[in-house]
Symmetry: C2
Subunit: 148 residues, 2 copies
Amino acid sequence: MRLMMFVVFLGCWEVGMADTLADAPGTASAPTYAVWPIGWVRKDGERTSIEIEPRYQPALLGLEAGARIWVLYWFDRHDTPEQRAILLVHPRGDPANPLRGVFATRAPVRPNLIALSRCQVLAVRGTAIEIDGIDAFAGTPVLDLKPE
Amino acid sequence: MRLMMFVVFLGCWEVGMADTLADAPGTASAPTYAVWPIGWVRKDGERTSIEIEPRYQPALLGLEAGARIWVLYWFDRHDTPEQRAILLVHPRGDPANPLRGVFATRAPVRPNLIALSRCQVLAVRGTAIEIDGIDAFAGTPVLDLKPE
C-alpha cells in the first residue's frame, strides 16, 4: 500500500450516477456482499505479522512456517464512494504515464478495494502469523488467507 | 468452483455465536465492507468470458490479449451464514484427509467467500473479456481483475 503514496489521480473518470441507478450496487440486479476482517496487519519493529481474530484461530490448522500464502486485504484508506468510483488512473501517479483502467493496474483505488499480496509464513504462534513482509500499513484489515 | 462438488464437510467446527457477540461482524470493533459484482462469468460452448458491467468498461483501458490476470470472484453458491462459519474441512472432501483450517486450503467455504484464479486474456471486445478458462460456474459474480 506504499503504492498509494505515489498514486495521484488526475483526469480520472468516475462512474456516472444518473445512468447507473437501475443496476447500482445493492439493487436486485446488482447484489452486494458483506466481507469483514478476519485479522489485521501488525508491525513491530522489523517484524510483520497478521493477527487473526481469536474466533478464527481454528481456520489456521495446517498453516505452517515456510508456506507461501496469498493475503487478501482491504484498502481501507481508500474506502470512500469517490475513490471507489475511480476507473482510470495514471500508473504510479505519474501524469506522464498514459491513463489506464484500474482493472489493468494494481492501483489501490478500484470498485472493490481488495488487495492481494503473496507472503511467506515465518512462524505461526497462536493467533499471530509472522510473515516476511507486506506492502500494507499496520492496522490494515485482512480478509482472507489462501495457500499459493 | 468444480472443487465444491468434491468438498464434503464432516466434523467441521463452526464459529461459536455466544462468545463472539462483542466483535461480531458489523459491530464497531469489527466493521463490514460491501463488495459487489463488477461483472459475471459467461460460458458459451467452449468459450469462457467475463462480461463486465457496462458502467465499468472504462476500467478495462489497457487490458489486452495475452495479459495474465488475477480474477477475484465470489463463491456465491456457498453464501449462507452456515457455510461462512465453517473453519475446518477435509481437503477435497475426503474424510481420509485430516481436517485442515480453511485458511490453509482453497476450499470454497470460508468467512469471506472470495475466490482467486489466474487466467490469460485471449481477447477484449467491448465489455467482454475472453479468457482461457476459469474454475467457476457460469453466472458467477466477479469482484475484481488485476494484472499478474
